[in-house]
Amino acid sequence: MKYSAVTLAREAVRGQRGWRPAWVKAKPKDAYDAIIVGGGGHGLATAYCLAKTHGLTRVAVLEKGWIGGGNTGRNTTVIRSNYFYPESVALYDLALRLYEGLSKELNYNIMLSQRGMLIAAHTPAQMEICNRIANAMQLNGVDGRLMEAEEAAAKVPLANQGAQARYKLMGGIWQGRAGVARHDAVAWGYARAASALGVDIIEGCEVSDIRVEAGRVTGVETDLGPIRTNRLGLAAAGATPGLAAKVGVRLPIHTYALQAFVSEPIKPILNTVLLYLGTGTYLSQSDKGELVIGGGLDRVPTHGQKGNLPAQEEVLSGLLEMFPSFGQLKLLRQWGGVVDVVPDSSPILGPAGPDGLYLNCGWGTGGFKAIPAGGTLLAHMLATGAHHPISKPFDLDRFRTGRLIDEAAGSGIAH
């Protein structure tokens, strides 16, 4: 049933009894034309694109837990394309352009709020690096510009401007189209749309092995039994390296815990997304009124979705250095996701190992903003067996040739 104010009003009269499950809780069939491992945003978006764009509906998404329960449900919901290299901008701005039409496309309000993002600089040297990025963005057709101190301060009036401030707000990079979106809604919106097109979404189904015969993928082993396919997409973030290793594909991926924090909800006090280069802390305020805060990784290789105290103390002391008045607020919730970090902090997209196996992983700390692009590109590879022009530069082979896309190195800012 279509979602709209009309259907909502009609159901209001009927006690909301008319709604049907947003997605069908499918049981696995014996075989599919394509299988995607990982029921996060990327996996669900891939299934939707396969059905919608490529007309492939004998498709299954296998999720070991509940959809949207991995990094899709654990990030700080920031969406942006303020990147340095043309290849990165092509990828992330594709995602941003798709996000801009996604609520209408999926008939599901993902609450995309393009409130703009400021990356703040505090020294002349940092302003020079911001200028380097802003110009790169403009050359790549993205709305990035260098912002001077006065205009930047007006964007974040509560930011620390006192004499005691450790970091003066000297200006920075501004992207107006950047912002935030409701992360759960992205997963559920794609799931509902894909399910409506006939895709099987199978939760509680963990893939334990990949079956290969004569160099070609023939299916997967799961705790709900074997399922056959010749086209397999891996979009399982931190779990991807373990699966790929089963077919001899060794990846340059470390997994770390990345923590995020949410404060108690308060009336609106922050209308933009802000990152301070000096503290490394970034934040935005959700529509419900909670401050959503993030920062650096727990630099300890891990597979547990839990971070530790030092990273919390560092991120939150950074926050209060940026906004001393936020010392009035209390931490409501803290959680961690397991992020799959690649040496050049760019994803790994493309075929690997046996024929029919395609990777969409290595998104590290930046996966949420790329969901629609990840889906589009993995669907293209599964449907056509070949790279999309935008995914090609992110092939695993770049580590052999040395043609890395190292945003942190290029832009001088850790992404």
């Binding site: 995309l112 690096i129 380097r132 108690e264 009336k267 009124g289 919390q312 607020l329």
Partner: protein
């Protein structure tokens, strides 16, 4: 109906110290020892808050962190803290409280009409609408209506909470009966016990239920426990919340102190969790009306504060535990009816009318309770106290990986032993009742069970929300999530408990689901025909209850945030009028003079014309000593250094294994077995640790040492044509070749001189031990006038080196720059032996012709650093970017360095310089624009 303060009950309050406070527009009265909640109950109005979504009138419900309604912005002597729970806010004289998310006040809230729309705004409605025209049209109004309290932009809490680490033998969390018994037993075995209690005093529920332990009143047992702990090197922290369990059994605790809080990081050898349980509500229709309270909380307010919940009290329960509560209220003269769901009930306490087989169907009233329907009969009452059983508080057990099992007999999810590093005892383990809790506590610490006449282990009639009941029934009071919402979530497929939570926001409010997680889970189980274990539980995440950000952020602020290294001669430079800036982790003079920009140009000019001095102390000084030094340096550096003759110096690069230039600098070899690596000031630690890797992993560390003695020396660099004159004036005469180094003395102090030039003019780096720094500074300063020289800051030095095309790592190189991009291809072409990064210099990418290479740019006016280089015609794409750009006072024109695709082969070519939409023309030149032959060195 105004509150009722009992004339003499109240163990926590001091009636000799009356206090007044203001809640919205109403004055309320209380005593020292009251909380805002107890004072409100005793004297205040019933409606003290409005619900988050429907703006329904709400009253006080609970007694601790589980309180879902009574939230206020609290102002005390000018300082405001939003979203404070009345139950956890000590009453102070003159305190002002303002109900959150209601205006002008809770009672007169203008947004009351929202409740009329409740049918149209169920859980998750916003996913189904607000799409027409784009979310941005609706978002501002929705954001304004969301959020609870208001931040006061003028309140900046100080960064004064210390973080303290501690270790102890046994940590007991919770000082109720079970916790006391465990702590006492352990302390009596000489173990160092830390006892942490969230409340203001020890005892937990004993404080209002009382009890006899070991033949005496429980307070004796508590005192004996305190003595035992303090005698065995233990510690007791009340007003302290253990809010996080982290790896390696670390517990984070927030101690609320009189003058400042403390953020504890405690690492116990063993941990015992005795955090009790939270009473469950019941789920009649309109269960959110002011006047509906937790029975345990009402008993707590009566005994501790003398605040009586009502005059005509109806207690709806299924548990023996409520009989003591009924007796306590009857003793005040209140009319008490106890409706027990069970068939067989204990004897009725005096003055209490007990009805059996009763089900609470509905509560009636508009902005306060008039009465309730039991089975199908109305009973008048002004307070309905509900008890639906108890939910063990297992947050910390689960945070540390502990699992839970459904125990039907205890009607609760209880910790599965051995699945976390903690032992869980008492009500937190589903052991309800004084005797069993004391026994479990003592035995957990290897002691004997204390004796008590009260040996019963409470059980109760399992209560569940009735998913077929009609009327509006609340599951999560604070986030306004009703039973219909849970059924809607089930209908729409959000049947995993995690989906239920995220779709309806059930359990995601600031009471963190203490009274809503269980009924939400039970209702979802019934709605989907599953058992509770099959439906599962959500993960428990820190903090156990909201903790101020300022407690975790601690004292790391301003001066103490990313502190800068300071020059020993800082004050001397200040006296010269230096302006300071941050350079690579040091605070250093950028220029000397009020008008910084003008000073920079004048300083750069003087350094070329006469002589200038700058403080180069931050330059890294890594002593590399021993017979193994040459081999180590040959492997670590891109340039061979074993061939460097004693008394000489050589410019060299350090690469990462990826072939990327990591640092550059001059390496001195004062003597056969001693080298000094002058790493860039921002890279000293990183370079030391980069060298330690091969020293320890590849070579024999006993044959080569690395000593960082950067901060043992003051280095002043004298540069300019009249430099030798200035040196002579202070008694330093030396004839050193360019790139020569000598170790001599100056007066009675050692002096190292290195004739190395970063400016392009003849320069001498003079290094003396720290103690001799001031003398060297003064003697040079005095001599400067005679040679018309001056002190210069780092900005002038940056211009001088840029005129020479000398690079600064990280500014003129990016994370992909290799040495041959900078014109330093020699070692790459000739060295046969292994060195760090070698194989990376021959990858496909490393051999590509389109690599970005260092070039100079000649332009008519100054281009901005960070501008990009673009083709003058054809599609516009980035060919590289400007890394350094200045007006050169010495060349009287702009100079710039850049990284340009295939730049080495483009000398003389014209190129576009793109900045913020505009394009200038530039000509590609050699990097060095000044004295290319180097005659002035």
């Amino acid at each position: 109906m105004s509150g009722w303060r009992h004339p003499d009950l109240g163990t926590e309050i001091d009636r000799s110290k009356p206090l007044t406070a203001k809640v919205d527009w109403t004055k309320i009265h209380g005593f020292h020892g009251d909380t805002l909640a107890s004072a409100l109950l005793a004297s205040g109005p019933r409606t003290i808050a409005r619900s988050f979504k429907y703006h329904r009138p709400r009253g006080l419900y609970g007694m601790g962190a589980e309180e879902p309604n009574a939230l206020f912005d609290i102002t005390r002597d000018g300082t405001t803290i939003p979203n404070e729970r009345a139950t956890l806010t000590p009453l102070t004289d003159g305190l002002k409280a303002r109900a959150v998310n209601a205006s002008p006040t809770a009672e007169r809230d203008r947004a009351r009409w929202l409740d009329l729309l409740h049918r149209a705004i169920p859980a998750g409605f916003y996913y189904k609408t607000f799409m027409a025209g784009g979310w941005h049209l609706y978002e501002p109004r929705i954001r304004a209506m969301a959020g609870l309290g208001r931040l006061d932009p003028n309140t900046n809490p100080p960064a004064d909470t210390p973080a303290r680490s501690a270790t102890c033998d046994l940590l007991v969390i919770g000082a109720g009966p079970a916790g006391l018994a465990a702590a006492k037993a352990a302390a009596e075995q000489e173990r160092a016990v830390w006892l942490i209690e969230d409340g203001t005093s020890l005892g937990g529920a004993l404080r209002w239920r009382g009890g006899e332990i070991d033949g005496a009143d429980w307070t004796d047992f508590a005192r004996a426990t305190e003595t035992a702990i303090l005698n065995s090197d233990g510690r007791i922290l009340t007003n302290t919340t253990a809010w996080g369990a982290f790896d390696h059994s670390l517990i984070a605790a927030w101690q609320r102190g009189p003058d400042h809080d403390v953020h504890w990081r405690i690492r116990p050898a063993d941990t015992i969790l005795a955090t009790g349980a939270v009473e469950r509500p019941l789920w009649p229709a309109q269960n959110d009306l002011p006047g509906v309270m937790s029975a345990e909380a009402a008993h707590h307010y009566l005994t501790l504060y003398g605040a009586v919940a009502g005059r005509r009290i109806l207690i709806a329960t299924g548990s023996d535990a409520s009989y003591a509560t009924a007796a306590a209220f009857a003793a005040t003269g209140a009319k008490v009816t106890l409706a027990d769901a069970r068939d067989a009930t204990p004897a009725a306490p005096d003055g209490v009318r007990v009805l059996s087989r009763q089900t609470l169907r509905a509560v009636h009233g508009k902005t306060e309770t008039w009465g309730a329907t039991l089975n199908d009969q109305f009973h008048s009452a002004d307070a309905v106290l509900v008890s639906g059983g108890f939910t063990p508080s297992v947050h910390l057990h689960c945070q540390s990986g502990g699992k839970l099992d459904w125990n039907a007999e205890k009607d609760a999810l209880v910790p599965r032993p051995g699945t976390s590093h903690m032992k869980v005892i008492g009500a937190a383990n589903g052991t309800f009742g004084l005797g069993p809790a004391l026994a479990e506590g003592a035995t957990a610490a290897g002691g004997l069970a204390p004796d008590t006449p009260d040996g019963t282990n409470w059980r109760w009639h399992p209560a569940r929300p009735d998913i077929d009941a009609s009327g509006r029934i609340w599951i999560d009071l604070q986030n306004d999530v009703t039973l219909k919402d849970v059924k809607l979530a089930a209908r729409e497929g959000f049947t995993s408990v995690e989906h239920l939570k995220r779709y309806t926001t059930l359990g995601m409010a600031t009471d963190q689901g203490r009274t809503s997680n269980f009924p939400g889970l039970a209702a979802m189980a019934d709605a989907t025909r599953r058992s509770i274990p099959e439906t599962g539980t959500t993960t428990f995440r820190p903090p156990v209850r909201p903790v101020p950000l300022s407690v975790i952020a601690g004292r790391r602020r301003g001066d103490l945030f990313n502190p800068l290294k300071r020059l020993p001669l800082e004050d001397a430079h200040r006296a010269q009028g230096a302006v300071f800036r941050e350079y690579g982790g040091w605070l250093r003079p950028s220029a000397y003079g009020k008008d910084e920009a003008a000073a920079i140009q004048a300083e750069a000019e003087a350094a070329r014309d006469t002589v200038a001095i700058y403080d180069a102390s931050p330059l890294g000084k890594l002593d590399i000593i021993g017979p193994g030094a040459p081999a180590l340096l040959d492997f670590a550096f891109y340039n061979r250094l074993s061939t460097l003759k004693p008394g000489r110096a050589r410019y060299a690069f350090l690469l990462r294994e990826s072939g990327i230039v990591f640092d550059d600098g001059v390496v001195l070899r004062p003597s056969e077995n001693r080298f000094i690596v002058s790493a860039s000031s921002s890279h000293v630690d990183a370079v030391r640790l980069l060298l330690e890797d091969p020293r320890q992993g590849r070579f024999d560390p006993s044959q080569v040492a690395i000593h960082d003695v950067t901060q043992a020396w003051t280095t002043l660099t004298v540069t300019g044509p009249r430099a030798p004159e200035l040196l002579a004036a202070v008694g330093i005469d030396v004839d050193l070749p360019h790139m020569g180094v000598a170790e001599t003395t100056w007066g009675d102090a050692p002096l190292r001189i290195a004739r190395i030039s970063f400016t392009g003019d003849r320069s001498y780096e003079l290094s003396v031990p720290l103690r001799q720094g001031p003398t060297l500074h003064t003697r040079l300063d005095v001599a400067l006038g005679a040679v018309d020289g001056r002190w210069i800051g780092l900005e002038a030095v940056m211009i001088l080196r840029a005129e020479k095309g000398y690079i600064v790592i990280g500014k003129d190189t990016d994370g992909l720059t290799m040495p041959h991009d900078l014109g330093w291809g020699g070692p790459r072409d000739t060295r046969e032996d292994e060195y760090l990064g070698k194989s990376s210099l021959f990858t496909e990418a490393a051999m590509a012709a389109d690599r970005r290479q260092l070039v100079g740019l000649s332009t008519t006016n100054v281009v901005s650093t960070g501008a990009h280089l673009v083709p003058l015609d054809g599609p516009r794409r980035s060919l590289g970017f400007v890394t350094s750009s200045y007006q050169s006072p010495n060349l009287r024109r702009p100079i710039a360095l850049a990284l340009l695709e295939g730049g080495a082969a483009m000398q003389g070519a014209e190129i576009g310089v793109f900045h913020n939409g505009a394009v200038q023309r530039a000509r590609v030149t050699k990097a060095c624009a000044f004295d290319p032959e180097g005659e002035r060195l």
